[in-house]
């Protein structure tokens, strides 16, 4: 069992690395959204990534999930699987789940059906044409509905959920796939304080079973997670360490408060 609180993740042996970005650069029309970025996340670790708007946090997730190909550099998963050579579906099948910044659930399907589609199982066109929901699968969905607090909304179209509920549903969909690595892009954006608290509990309950990378603006939330923090700025890692450590780093203070 890897130690979630390992202080120097960067020194992790190759086989303990869940995610390893090596000198990744992504440029859009000459503008470098990621600039020679390197980052290591250990297996089972919970990691927060913070940074001002435009720092490249979402772009980082795009690279890991195959949405964006880097101009240079590599991204390795679980030791030595090169993610930059795979497409989104293949990466998802490897065990990487991603929550988008804007909640993306299937608005016209019911909450239950949203989770059903996320359920692990054959994905081909024929297989899904003849697929039947087995009782144990239905039970897994019910258990997940309970875990994300949506058991009484199972038959409601996902489009009718509140913003916070959509975020939870999306996290629930990711968990149905039992991913090794979970990427959460601003999971509490637009949530009420109470919802934020609930979400922190949910995310903390995931740590250990999954490797979780959380991108967030909300400092209260990041503090509540109590995880190792990476500060991104202009496509590079500016600082890394505990929340108190990075908040006292003068460069971080300048980026957040200065100008």
């Amino acid at each position: 069992m890897p130690d979630a609180n390992r202080s120097t993740a960067a020194s992790a042996a190759v086989e303990d690395r869940q995610l390893y970005l090596d000198g990744v650069t992504v440029s859009f029309d000459g503008f470098k959204a990621l600039n020679d970025l390197s980052l290591v996340v250990a297996k089972g670790e919970l990691r927060s990534i913070i940074g001002p708007n435009g720092a490249g946090k979402t772009t980082l997730m795009d690279v890991v999930t195959g949405k964006t190909r880097p101009d240079s550099g590599r991204a390795f998963f679980a030791g030595d699987v090169d993610l930059t050579r795979l497409d989104e579906a293949a990466i998802a099948t490897l065990g990487i789940g991603r929550k988008f910044q804007k909640p993306t659930v299937f608005e016209n399907l019911s909450v239950f059906e949203n989770l059903e589609l996320a359920l692990s199982g054959p994905r081909g066109a024929w297989a899904t044409l003849f697929a039947q929901l087995a009782p144990p699968e239905a039970e897994r969905i019910d258990a997940m509905l309970e875990r994300i607090g949506l058991e009484d909304r199972r038959a409601v179209p996902a489009g009718a959920l509140s913003h916070g509920q959509k975020q939870w549903l999306e996290i629930g969909m990711l968990l149905m796939q039992e991913p090794q690595l979970l990427l959460l892009d601003e999971p509490v954006a637009g949530m009420t304080d109470r919802e934020t608290e609930e979400t922190a509990k949910l995310v903390l309950s995931l740590a250990g079973q999954h490797t979780v990378v959380v991108v967030e603006h909300d400092m209260e939330f990041v503090r509540a997670l109590g995880a190792r923090v990476t500060v991104l700025h202009e496509g590079r890692v500016l600082a890394e360490g505990s929340i108190d450590h990075v908040q006292n780093d003068p460069r971080v203070v300048e980026v957040y408060l200065g100008r």
């Binding site: 579906a89 899904t128 003849f130």
Partner: protein
């Protein structure tokens, strides 16, 4: 019950099955009875010309159903479905041409008249086999299916969506039209294929044959409807709906968006081919104008009017718009296109979910009104 029969039984709910059976049986029985059992001159007697006309509408309904599967569910607005319909029609037309035999104007035992006229000496290889009905039937689904598969594979793999996809499907049907207009293409040029004599040995002009074709079309529509229900009630159907909402989420869940779309598009093209094959012997001709881009746009209007993503709406829309077209092109031909345009704009603006959506709203409204009446709730609970 095996899982599959269970799924089949649940394609519709009890009321749905009852309505389906009643409409299918009525459609298949009433028209032939009104046409044959009533004496000539009886006010309810259906004139002979009405049978193939209704049969034609049924074929259009199958085409609309096909488009609804790919547009209403998978979100692919194909404006080229007329091409698949026409290809199915040409395959059937080729069979019917080969059945003419020596009865053509030139009396050539193998070559259709237009080939003799062009001084061709032998049958092109792609006409081989079409003298056999089973082979022609196979081609009716395989040719449109293969074209849709290849075209769809290229388009969906490159992630061509939305308006761009609609435009290239228009280009596809337009290009096919230009090709089929050419005499050296070997499909009769701008005259197309016509002067059919027999289908499976039955005289295509005979009243009994026309009734047979009409009933076959109704059966095909019923089966196509159930097949589409099977797809849209499956998990694959939910994947299709899902990718309309959030394509990238579907991808990140590990589904191949390309194969889900390809399935919908190809199956849809095959259904369109069947519709075209049933259409041709009933109207007696197939020519390149069937490929005209405007035809494909009309199909989209039928579906929009009926209400997309409901299947039933597509069928309804095809019937209503075509009844209106037959009536208007007779009564005031110059207004038809304006009417069609106004209809499309009106539906888009005021009835985004079409007539089927209106029916749903009306039912919901009625339900709400019923519930508002004092005592109604108690009565329901009791």
């Amino acid at each position: 019950m095996t899982p599959l029969t269970f799924r089949l039984a649940r394609l519709l709910d009890a009321r749905g099955w009852a309505a389906f059976a009643a409409i299918a049986v009525a459609a298949a029985m009433v028209v032939p009875l009104l046409n044959t059992a009533l004496p000539a001159g009886h006010p309810l007697r259906l004139p002979d010309y009405m049978v193939p006309l209704l049969g034609k509408y049924v074929c259009y309904a199958i085409l609309a159903l096909a488009l609804d599967l790919c547009w209403g569910y998978a979100g692919i607005l194909s404006l080229g479905h007329g091409a698949f319909f026409a290809l199915g029609g040409y395959c059937m037309g080729m069979y019917l041409m080969r059945q003419i035999g020596t009865r053509g104007v030139y009396g050539h035992p193998v070559l259709p008249d237009f080939m003799v006229f062009l001084n061709w000496k032998e049958l092109p290889a792609y006409w081989y086999g079409f003298d056999m009905f089973w082979y022609a039937l196979l081609m009716v689904v395989l040719v449109p299916g293969a074209l849709a598969f290849v075209f769809g594979f290229l388009a969906f793999r490159s992630r061509v969506t939305g308006v761009y996809l609609s435009i290239i499907t228009q280009a596809l049907t337009f290009a096919m039209m230009l090709g089929f207009f050419r005499n050296n293409f070997g499909f009769g040029g701008n005259n197309g294929l016509t002067d059919f004599k027999e289908l499976l040995g039955f005289d295509v002009q005979a009243r009994s044959t026309r009734i047979g074709l009409y009933v076959a079309s109704v059966l095909a529509l019923a089966l196509a409807f159930l097949a589409c229900r099977f797809v849209v009630t499956s998990k694959l159907g939910r994947v299709m709906l899902a990718l309309r909402d959030a394509e990238s989420r579907v991808r990140f869940l590990g589904y191949s968006v390309t194969s889900a779309k390809l399935f919908a598009f190809t199956l849809s093209a095959m259904l369109a081919g069947v519709a075209g094959a049933l259409y041709v012997p009933q109207v007696g001709i197939i020519n390149p104008s069937e490929f005209s881009p405007a035809n494909s746009i009309e199909v989209a209007i039928w579906v929009a009017v009926g209400g997309r993503g409901t299947l039933v709406g597509a069928v309804l829309g095809a019937f209503l718009v075509n009844f209106a077209k037959t009536w208007l092109t007779g009564a005031a031909p110059e207004v038809w296109l304006f009417f069609l345009g106004a209809l499309f704009i009106g539906v888009t603006l005021f009835l985004p979910r079409g007539l089927a959506g209106l029916a749903g709203q009306w039912r919901a409204g009625l339900g709400a009104a019923f519930r508002r009446r004092p005592g109604a709730v108690e009565a329901r609970d009791a």
